[in-house]
Symmetry: C2
Subunit: 344 residues, 2 copies
Amino acid sequence: MAVALKDIAERVNLSVATVSRALRGRSEIAPQTRQLVQQIAEELKYRPNQLARSILSGRTGTVGVIFPHSVHCSDFCMQVLVGIHTQLGEMDCHAICLWMEELDVEKDVQLAAQIHSLVDKRVDGFIIYPALDARETYISEIIERHIPMVMVDMELSDIQSDFVGTDDFSGGYQAAAYLINLGHTRIACLAGPKMSSTAVVRKEGFLAAAAEHGLEAVIAEDSYFGSDINTTVLLTERILKSNPRPTAIFCANDPMASSVYKAARAAKLRIPEDLSVIGFADMEIARLLDPALTTVRQNPYQIGVSAAKILIERISGKNDQLKPQRIMFRPELIIRESVGIPPM
Amino acid sequence: MAVALKDIAERVNLSVATVSRALRGRSEIAPQTRQLVQQIAEELKYRPNQLARSILSGRTGTVGVIFPHSVHCSDFCMQVLVGIHTQLGEMDCHAICLWMEELDVEKDVQLAAQIHSLVDKRVDGFIIYPALDARETYISEIIERHIPMVMVDMELSDIQSDFVGTDDFSGGYQAAAYLINLGHTRIACLAGPKMSSTAVVRKEGFLAAAAEHGLEAVIAEDSYFGSDINTTVLLTERILKSNPRPTAIFCANDPMASSVYKAARAAKLRIPEDLSVIGFADMEIARLLDPALTTVRQNPYQIGVSAAKILIERISGKNDQLKPQRIMFRPELIIRESVGIPPM
DNA sequence: ATAGTATTTGTAAACTATTGCATATTTTTT
DNA sequence: AAAAAATATGCAATAGTTTACAAATACTAT
C-alpha cells in the first residue's frame, strides 16, 4: 500500500497533524522540523492522497466529458478534447471521458449508468457534446443535482445551460456570399440532418445570404451527416441532373464534400471548372482531397478551451448568479482550390 | 452538500453501520429495516461516495490513458479509445485521458506533472500509446511505483510491460505479396519515420515479402508519418521520376497515400491503371479517396478492448506471476479500387 | 424459568488528510 | 526569578464509508 502521512509521522516521531502542516500547512512549523519531514517524505516517495483531500474539500478536480464517437467528426472532436484537456490542465483538473453511441438508444441506459457512476465519483462538472438527437434522458440526473454543465457544439433547446460552439449561421452565410460574389447563381446546399441544430443553422445562414442577393433557384436537401457515401453520392447525382444544373454545392460537412467529389467525377464534371464545392469544418480530409477543399474552418480547439474555462468558473461558484452564457466562435472561410468562377 | 449515510441514519434512527449494511452489506439485516432504509435512500437520492470507498478498498476504478494528439491518427486513436472505454465500462471503470504533444519535448515536463497528479488521484493503472519518439522519462514514475501499465500500438524496447498492437510485419508482408501476385515487380515503399517501431516493422514485412519473391529493385524511403503534404508529395514525385518507374507504391499510412494520389495526378498518372497504391490503417479517408484506397485494416477497437482487459487483469492481481504479454492482431487487406495489374 | 442459540443492531477502529483548539515548550519581558 | 507572550506540537473532530467485534434482543429447547 502507498505511503501515507502516518508512515512519515512514525518515521520522524511526530503527529500526523504536524507532518501534514510541515508539508503544506501555512501555520508555523519549526524550520528544522519542516526540513526533516520534507526530506523523509521525498525519501519515501510520499504523494498526498487526493481521495482523502477531495472528501474534505468537496472537490475532485475531475470533470466528466461526454462525447459522441461517430467517425465523421473524429478529428473535430479530438481537437475539442485537446482544447478541453489543455485548459483543464492549467487548473490541475482532469477529464474522465465517456463516448456515446449516436444512434443506439439501447445504449442510453448504459450511458445513464455511467453518469451515475461519475456522480458517485463526485466529478465537479460535465462537458457534454450532445449527439444528433437531443435525448436528454441521461442529462436529467445532472440537472436534478445541479451539477455544473457546459454544452459544446450543439444546443439542446429545452435545457438551460452554458453553451460554447460555432456561429454556424455566419459560416453558412460566408460560404454562400463567397460563391455569389464569384458570380454563381445556381447553388445547391447539401444540408445535414434536420435533427442536428448545427446543420439546420448552417443551412439557414446559407439561405439568408441567398435570399439577400435575390437568388431563388436554390436547392437545399437534408441528408445524413456522416460520410455515408452511397446516400450522399446518390443525392448529389440527383442534384447534378437537375436542369439547370447548379454550378456550386455547399456541404454542411467535409466528408459530405468528399462524396460530392466522387459524384462529380462519375458525372465527368471537373472541380472547380465545372462545379465548385465548399465544405464545412476544415477536417484533415479537406487538405487531402484533390483539389484541396475550400471549407469553413471552425475553431474546435478554442471551443474546448472556452468550454473548460466556463465550466471551471461555474464550479468555483464565481458566477452563480450569472445566467447561462452562450459563446459562439465565428468561423473562417479557408480558400483552397475547389471553388472557381461559374462556367460559361 | 450531498446526502451521506449519516443523513439516512438520522432519518431512520439507526446507526450509520446498519444503514451501510442495509444498502450493500451481505450480513443479515431485518427485511423491513432493509426496505425502509432503501426507500429513504431513494427518497433522498442517496449516492454512495466512491471517494470514501476507494480510500478503504485501495481501488478507484479509474485508469489513466495517455495518447498522442497528432491529427494523422485521430480516427485510429479514437477507435482505440472507444474500445478501451467499452471494455472498461463492463467493469464499471473509467478512463482519465491525457493527450501528449508528439514533438514538443518542452511539454514532457507538463506531462510528467499530470502523471504525478493522476498518481495522487490513485488511478489503478495506465494505458499508454507512446508517441513517435520513445521518451520514457514520463513513464519512470509509473514503473518505480509498480503501477500496472499496458502499452498500445507502439512498443518501447527497453521497457518491460504488457503490449497490445498490430502485427505490422504481417501487414507489410500482405500488402507486398498482393502486389507481387498481381504481377508488379517494381514496387516502392513509402515508409514512416525510423523512430516509429510500427513504421519500421511494416517496412520489414514489406521487404521480407519482396525478398522472398526475388524482387530486388525496391525503393524504400523513410519519411514523416503524418500527412505533411509537401514532404510526402515531393518524395513521391522523386520516386515517380526514377527509371524504371515503379508500378505500385505501398504507404505506411493512409494520409501518406492521399499525398501519393496528389503527386500521381500532378504527374498525369491514373490510379490504378498507371500506378497502384496501398495504404495502411483503413482510416476514414481510405473510403473517401477517389478511387477508394486499398489498404491494410488494423483493428483499433479490438486493440483497445484487449488493452483494457489485460490492464484490468493486472490490476486485479490475477496474473502477477505472468510475465509481460504481447498481443498482436493480424491486420487484413481491404481491397478497394486503388490497385490494378501493372501497366503493359 | 433458564440456558443456549440465532438474529439483528451498535460501537469503534480503520482509511487518509485537514484544521480548530488545547497544551507544552521556548523565548521575551519585567 | 516570575510572568507574559510567542512558538511549536498534539489531540480530536471532520469528511464518508466499511468491517471486526461486542452487545442486545428475540427465539428455541430443556
